[in-house]
């Protein structure tokens, strides 16, 4: 099965005085999985609901496979959807839930297809259970099977993992990725969890106030954030003062290339903790303030003069970096973004 391209064109939607969607453009290639990421209220869920037909846009068009579906109601849009809240029909068993959409479409071989879908999500032995007899993770799997059973043109996932506990969440997101790759359905995944977005998406769209701040592969969003907002929202960043001259900024004595050019003068650079190296050095001019063990890696806060710098270090180095230890801080020369909100 091959996917269908989706095109959102100039979508606008206001709730009262809030612009949930502010001229949003988004192209999803056939078979691609795009994750929309952003803080709550940024419009990501509205974008998904407009695509699903559950919400009307004030302006703009929705194209699926080149066909304008803006005026079509939700039940004629051919989309499979998984919701944040548990959405299985409580009076039907797992297999009846999966069959629901198939029967509405008058498909033949309904039971076979439903069993096949349950097997795809690894629940073939749970077909006769009612939703209240299943765990949250299992319910969301059945919901995924139900959404995919109708072979939708587009799969819409509206924070499907946010109600689950951490371990199930990681498990299920990997499974979603596997199934999506296997089935090849064009997918829009909405989440506020950056780790989730980076892990599953082919491209991540970071949204702010109804607009896309950046749409790029996960590594690019993380390593070359297009704006301070993206740098700040995705991953942790140190805000370090520096001096801009030409295409570089000088921070703590190290010259770092800029992601986007800026006017010369003093500025604040956003530096990832893993780009900060800390080594014990009596002459280093810095000292460890706190350290916290996080498992395979650890986090160390260092004071350099009056500046606090957070560094990510291998946990094996932690014993040599007890609070008070004099250290030297060096920065890895990777491109950095500037925090324009302060200047």
């Amino acid at each position: 099965m091959s996917g269908v391209a989706v095109h959102l064109e100039g979508l606008r939607r206001t709730f009262g005085s809030v612009h949930a969607l502010d001229n949003l453009d988004l192209e999803i290639a056939a078979g691609e999985l795009i994750a929309l990421l952003g803080p709550s209220g940024c419009g990501k869920t509205t974008a998904l609901r407009v695509l699903a037909g559950l919400e009307d846009a004030d302006a703009g068009r929705v194209l699926v496979g080149g066909k304008d579906v803006t005026a079509l109601p939700a039940n004629r849009r051919d989309m499979g959807m998984v919701f944040q809240a548990y959405s299985l029909f409580p009076h039907l068993t797992a297999v009846e839930n999966v069959e629901f959409g198939l029967k509405l479409r008058g498909r033949r071989k309904v039971p076979g297809r439903a069993a096949e879908m349950l097997e795809l999500v690894g629940l073939s032995s749970h077909g006769s259970r009612y939703p209240h007899q299943m765990s949250g993770g299992q319910q969301q799997r059945v919901a995924l099977a139900r959404a995919l059973a109708i072979e939708p043109a587009v799969l819409l996932l509206d924070e499907p993992l946010s109600a689950l506990d951490a371990k199930v969440r990681v498990q299920l997101r990997e499974e979603i990725k596997r199934i999506q790759t296997e089935v090849g359905t064009t997918t829009l995944f909405v989440t506020h969890d950056q780790e989730e977005a980076l892990a599953v998406a082919d491209r991540v769209g970071v949204m702010k106030a109804g607009r896309l701040e950046q749409l790029a592969p996960p590594a690019d969003v993380y390593q070359q954030p297009a704006s301070a907002f993206v740098a700040d929202f995705v991953g942790l960043s140190n805000r370090l003062p520096g001096i801009v001259s030409g295409p570089i900024i000088s921070v703590l004595g190290t010259e770092l290339p800029l992601v986007t050019p800026a006017a010369a003068g003093s500025a604040t650079a956003l530096v990832r903790p893993e780009a900060v190296h800390v080594t014990p050095d009596p002459e280093g001019g810095a000292s460890v303030l706190t350290s916290s063990f996080l498992g395979s890696t650890s986090r160390v806060t260092v004071t350099v003069g009056e500046t606090l710098v957070v560094a990510q270090v291998a946990s094996s180095l932690l014993p040599s970096l007890t609070p008070g230890t004099p250290v030297r801080v060096t920065l890895q020369p990777v491109p950095v973004a500037l925090d324009l909100s302060l200047s």
């Binding site: 039940n75 989309m79 959807m81 029909f89 009076h91 629901f100 209240h132």
Partner: protein, 263 residues
Amino acid sequence: MAGVIAARRRKQRVFRWAVLVVLGVFFLLPLAAMLEFSTRNSETWPLLVNWPKLSDTYPDLAEGIVSSLEQAALTAILMLVLLVPTTIWVRLRLPKLRRFVEFLCLLPLTIPAIVLVVGLAPVYAWVTYFLGGSSLTLVFAYTILVLPYAYRAIDAGLSAIDVKTVAEAARSLGAGWTTVIVRVVLPNIRSAVLSAAFLTVALVLGEFTIASLLNRTNLQVSIELLGKSSATMSVAVSLAALLLAFVLLMLLSLAGGSKKEQK
């Protein structure tokens, strides 16, 4: 210490039984009296269960029973047809109107039946003009009268499921609005709909004021009429009607209970 607790417990038990006995006597004594009175004439009860003979002997009573049963059935149907789609629609599409609809539905509870009749009389002059003076026309007034109870029951049923999400899931799977209501929402509020219907039937079977003041016939009106000619029979019918209402309410609580078991 243990002695004090045991003594307190014993006191509580005695108190509990005392309350139960007093209330039991309060409720059951009139019923027992009715039973005793209605069995003084040994022909009363056999006649009551012999429909052809009953309708021959007391044609007014028979008419009252039939009217009341018809009214109960029609009111239940009209109430469901009006209320179920409305409450679902308000929840799905017009959540802002929910308070208003609730207020509107609870309003009949605050208006005494006698006041209601004063307002209904001129309306019923028109109803009689257009539809005739049949006792079945009371169904319109009764539908309004049962709204508070029926609304509560159905609203509670809808609160138990996430109507919005479930409806949206069904829509995204290709279901139109009719399918959403009939195949997804209704099966999940079945017991609530049943309770609303049972309450309606119980209420309509017990209604007297409006029927009497609007000069229509129903069970209670005919019982009152019968009381003037045959006291034992009228008491026997009252008792039978009460027992029927008890059975209905029992079925209602059973319907509610089976749903809890499922969960």
